[in-house]
Amino acid sequence: MIGIVVFPGTNCEFDVQGAYHELGVESVLISHHEQHLDDYEAVVIPGGFSYGDYLRTGAIARFSPIMGAVTRYAESGGKVLGICNGFQILTEAGLLPGALQRNAGLRFICGEVKVRVEQNRSILTREMTVGEELSLPINHFEGNYTADAETLERLEAEGQVVLRYLENPNGSANDIAGVANVDGNVVGLMPHPERAGLGFGLSEQARSMLRSVLAPAGTSLAS
């Protein structure tokens, strides 16, 4: 059973639920008022516009009651996946490094992007191969991954960059599409694997990606 966190303004919770249902994994929607998360196999923070994206994307959601529980869950090794707005919330909460700024050129982007798997020891990519390329939908205005030079260097050195764009769509530093924490149990990405081929069956690669979250292997990024 996985938990899907729902804030006011979240709008991708049913896409995530449907995608995991297709994989035979049941899920429950968890209200942002909730303060306990211990029973779930994994927690997904889906996309949307939590709290209207006021102040900064994820800035208000980050202080809602559920986030205390998400932080404790992540710190005790629980698997946390943030997709799009979920990624933004995880960076605001300090569970992932960096920040997501407005896209370069101030363009809202919606379409398909190609990304490359850079790391397969994170919870998102354990069933995938390093160097594997796949197409995923993107749909965002604030996906421009930003961090200071020192942080970027550390991310690269520690293998925390999980996914990279083949063609940078939004100005992200080092073409970063997804990052993990040092232990690999918290991952955020801007593309939407849960929406890849939605309505026509999930693509094989998107299946591997979403199934990876539940795979039993250890999660440390240390080789």
């Binding site: 800035a59 605001e92 700024q101 050129g105 101030l106 200071d148």
Partner: protein, 85 residues
């Protein structure tokens, strides 16, 4: 006493500022060729009841650090503290 604390949040030096850049491009397009740079930020007025001006400043400073600005990409300054009637 009620105080109004004005806070300005700006992008950190060295961090890309796509909004400022878009505004700069528009200014150039309008013929303002002397405009060398535009930085886009946010401005807040926080009204609250505090025992002193110093306490108002100190409290809103802490609030700005936690909520109004994201230290990864932004810096903030307290621009002004004034009494409001």
């Amino acid at each position: 006493m009620r105080y109004r604390v004005s806070v300005r949040v700006m992008p950190k030096a060295g961090i890309s500022d796509p909004e400022g850049k878009a505004i700069h491009d528009a200014a150039l397009q309008l013929g303002y060729r002397e405009v060398a740079n535009v930085h886009a930020g946010k401005s807040f007025e926080v009204d609250g009841d505090y025992e002193s001006e110093a306490l108002a400043r100190e409290t809103v400073e802490a609030l700005a650090a936690r909520l109004l600005a994201n230290p990864v990409i932004e810096t903030f300054v307290i621009v002004d503290v004034e009494e409001v009637r």
